[in-house]
Each structure stands twice: as structure tokens, then as C-alpha cells.
């Protein structure tokens, strides 16, 4: 089954919602499903319209003698190079209208959509622990549910937010990939 993976959605107040966390959760989920036999297409990397990239490279060379004399070396070239790449003019899959998104997925042979959501409960108890919930859902392109897996991990004394995310991701996807 070929799945189009959507970006990770999380509760807005969640600290673990930052971009690096979301990328980490997406990476872990997709890796595990791919090893379980699914084919996963990252929608973040899909282009609805082709992009153009412009690279500017600035190189400067100087054959001036070094400020600190170096034994045996009179003229040492001092080279510097800077490079900057800019992408423009394109559109990603997320920017496309819904019917265009669907048309693209069908053309690519995608059968379903992978959605990952993360939520965090309110702090409670002496250790101000919170419950992190990770939910992975696979639906067909017509919206019909194929399967859903959910895992809760408590943060607090023994689990940092990162550890809770790690455990919840593994748990939610491993149980799904055993089917």
C-alpha cells in the first residue's frame, strides 16, 4: 500500500510541536511503516509546480603573505567562498487546491493517507507529569478508515518530553506494523 504522509499535527500549546520535534516524529513514523512494507511518499517533498533555484557563489582569492610568518611559506593564498541558494517560482503539494492534490496522488499510485497527531494533557500530580498521546491514522483516498493506532506515555520524573515522544512514536507505530 502506498501512503501519502501528511505533516505531523500537534496541539498548538505543545512545546513538542516545534519544527524539529515534528520532523523527528514524522521521520520515525515513516521509517517504521516503510520497514513494515508500506511505501510512504513525503507530501512535504512533492511539488505541484516545478521550482527554480538560483545559486550565488562568491569566491575571493588573495595571495597576500600571512600575518603570522610561516616557515617555508611566503605567499599563502587566502581563499574564501560563500554560497547561497534560493528556490522560487514553484508550489508544493500543500499549496495546491484539494482536487489538484487528489489528482496528483492518484497519478502517483497513492492508495491512502497517513496522518500523525500529537496531543499533551494538562500537568498533574507532584511531578507535574503530563500524558502525551500519539495517534497514527491511515485512511483510503475516499476517506474510509483503514486503521488507527494510539499510544499514551506519561512524562514526569522518569520521562522527559523527548523520551515520551520517542516512546510514544515507537509504541504507536510498532503496534500498527505488527498487523
Amino acid at each position: 500500500m502506498t501512503l501519502a504522509a501528511l505533516p505531523v499535527r500537534c496541539a498548538p500549546e505543545l512545546a513538542v510541536c516545534s519544527r524539529p520535534y515534528a520532523a523527528a516524529m514524522a521521520s520515525a513514523t515513516r521509517m517504521n511503516l516503510e520497514l513494515a512494507g508500506y511505501s510512504v511518499v513525503d507530501t512535504e517533498l512533492l511539488n505541484a509546480e516545478a521550482w527554480r533555484r538560483t545559486t550565488t557563489r562568491l569566491e575571493s582569492t588573495s595571495s597576500r603573505a600571512p600575518a603570522v610568518p610561516q616557515h617555508g611559506l611566503r605567499d599563502v593564498p587566502m581563499d574564501t567562498a560563500r554560497e547561497r541558494t534560493e528556490r522560487a517560482g514553484g508550489a508544493s503539494w500543500a499549496d495546491a487546491p484539494v482536487d489538484e492534490q487528489r489528482r496528483m496522488l492518484i497519478a502517483m499510485g497513492v492508495d491512502g493517507v497517513l496522518a500523525t497527531e500529537v496531543g499533551m494533557g494538562r500537568a498533574h500530580g507532584m511531578a507535574r507529569q503530563r500524558t502525551l498521546t500519539m495517534r497514527v491514522t491511515v485512511t483510503r483516498l475516499d476517506g474510509a478508515l483503514v486503521w488507527r493506532s494510539e499510544c499514551d506515555v506519561e512524562t514526569g520524573d522518569y520521562h522527559s518530553d523527548e523520551q515520551a515522544v520517542d516512546l510514544a512514536t515507537r509504541c504507536a507505530v510498532e503496534s500498527a506494523s505488527l498487523w
Binding site: T2, A15, S18, R19, P20, Y21, A23, A24, M25, A26, S27, A28, R30, M31, E34, L35, G37, S39, V41, D42, L45, L46, N47, A48, E49, A50, W51, R52, R53, T54, T55, T56, R57, L58, E59, S60, T61, S62, S63, R64, R87, G90, M104, A107, M108, G109, S160, E162, Q163, V165, D166
Partner: protein, 224 residues
């Protein structure tokens, strides 16, 4: 007495939480429905990476400005840097090349003809050159254009790489670094094989961990 109990419990805790040995590399491999297909010419896409080993950016750093959408301290992923991923890509591609695959770097495949403009200036001992290159590579193209490019290249397979760095656990902040390779057919992306190598790293920053995991994952991959 209390001090002795405290020291003993601390020693027990240290012994329990931090064995000095790291777990051995764990390799998982899977063959897909297209495993029997003879695939030699492969386009390798750039690795994607996710890490839970995050670092709070110092306020003095220019990149430390919080983004308009986040109110918390900015975090950055050091291990998933461009250079580290490029090094992992290089290790994987050279291993597969040596094993008999014909690997084409997707970054070097132009989707359209590029245009280049160069200005070179010399003032005595100083010389500078500015180059502007405009074009589009494989990653910039639409899926339909990518399919046409793969056909034109005669590519039979597409190789994708995913990297994952887990959260630090215990006193020694051990974390796992996984690199997963997936080879699929170029026409319909049917799985040929997938290989994952997971290694454990300790408290110190280990810049070579990703490369080691990458080499380990690519080891043993042979074309039919």
C-alpha cells in the same frame, strides 16, 4: 549511617542506569515484491533526517531569534546538519557503487538546462569571482517530470534514505541513531529491499555516528 545508605543507593542507581557497554548494532532487512527484478541503475535521493536530540540555541546566536509562531526557547538539531547528511549520503552511495549498483546523485540531475553567469574581478593580489546559476534539479521537478527524467536516465530504481536520532536516556544520555535505506522500482515505487541499521551512542557528541550507521545499513546490499 544515612550518608552510607545514600552513597550505596547512588552507587546502585549509577550501576543500574549506566552500563558502560553500548548496545551492538541492530540490523533489520526486508525484501519486497520486486526483490527478484534485476535493478542496477539507481537514482539516489538526498537523505531526510529527524532528531529528538535537540539543543537550546544561545540567545547571542543570530539564529536564536524565536520564530513568530513559537513562544518557547528556540531549539535546533545539531546532528541533522547539512554536512552530516551529505557525508552519510556519500558513504551510502559509494558503498552501493562498490557493490555493483550504478548510483546517480539526484542533486546532480538537472530537470532543465541551467544558465550561468560569471563575473571575475582582479585588483592586484586580490581576485574575486561571482557565479549565478539558475536552473532546476530533480528535487525541484513535479512527480510527472521526475518520472520522465527517470525514464530518460534509464534508471531502474530509486533509493531513499531516512535518518533518525532518538532521545537521550539515562545518566549517560544514550541515544539511538538509525539509518534506513529503501530501494524501490523507478516505475511504480514497488519495494525491492529495505535495510535499517540502529546503533547506540553515548554521552559525547559523536559526529561519525550517522556515517557509521549509514555504512552499516548499506553493507551487504547487492544487486541481483
Amino acid at each position: 549511617m544515612v550518608a552510607r545508605i545514600l552513597i550505596a543507593s547512588l552507587a546502585l542507581e549509577v550501576a543500574g542506569c549506566g552500563s558502560s557497554r553500548l548496545a551492538p548494532a541492530l540490523i533489520r532487512a526486508r525484501s519486497g515484491p520486486a526483490a527478484a527484478q534485476p535493478i542496477r541503475r539507481v537514482v539516489a535521493l538526498g537523505a531526510t533526517c529527524g532528531s529528538l536530540d535537540l539543543h537550546v540555541v544561545e540567545p547571542s546566536s543570530p539564529s536564536a531569534r524565536p520564530s513568530p509562531t513559537s513562544s518557547s526557547s528556540p531549539l535546533e538539531v545539531l546532528e541533522c546538519g547539512r554536512d552530516a547528511l551529505a557525508a552519510a549520503d556519500q558513504a551510502i552511495r559509494s558503498a552501493l557503487d562498490f557493490a555493483g549498483y550504478g548510483v546517480i546523485d539526484a542533486e546532480r540531475v538537472n530537470a532543465v538546462a541551467g544558465r550561468r553567469r560569471e563575473i571575475e574581478e582582479r585588483h592586484g593580489i586580490l581576485a574575486s569571482r561571482t557565479t549565478w546559476t539558475t536552473g532546476a534539479t530533480f528535487a525541484d521537478a513535479t512527480p510527472a517530470e521526475q518520472a520522465d527524467i527517470l525514464k530518460a536516465l534509464g534508471a531502474e530504481g530509486v533509493l531513499t534514505t531516512r535518518v533518525w536520532i532518538g532521545a537521550g536516556t539515562g545518566f549517560s544520555a544514550r541515544r539511538s541513531v538509525s539509518v534506513q535505506l529503501r530501494l524501490a522500482t523507478a516505475t511504480d515505487r514497488t519495494l525491492v529491499w529495505a535495510r535499517r541499521c540502529e546503533i547506540e551512542v553515548g554521552i559525547e557528541q559523536d559526529p561519525s555516528a550517522m556515517q557509521r550507521a549509514a555504512r552499516c545499513a548499506a553493507e551487504g546490499a547487492r544487486p541481483r
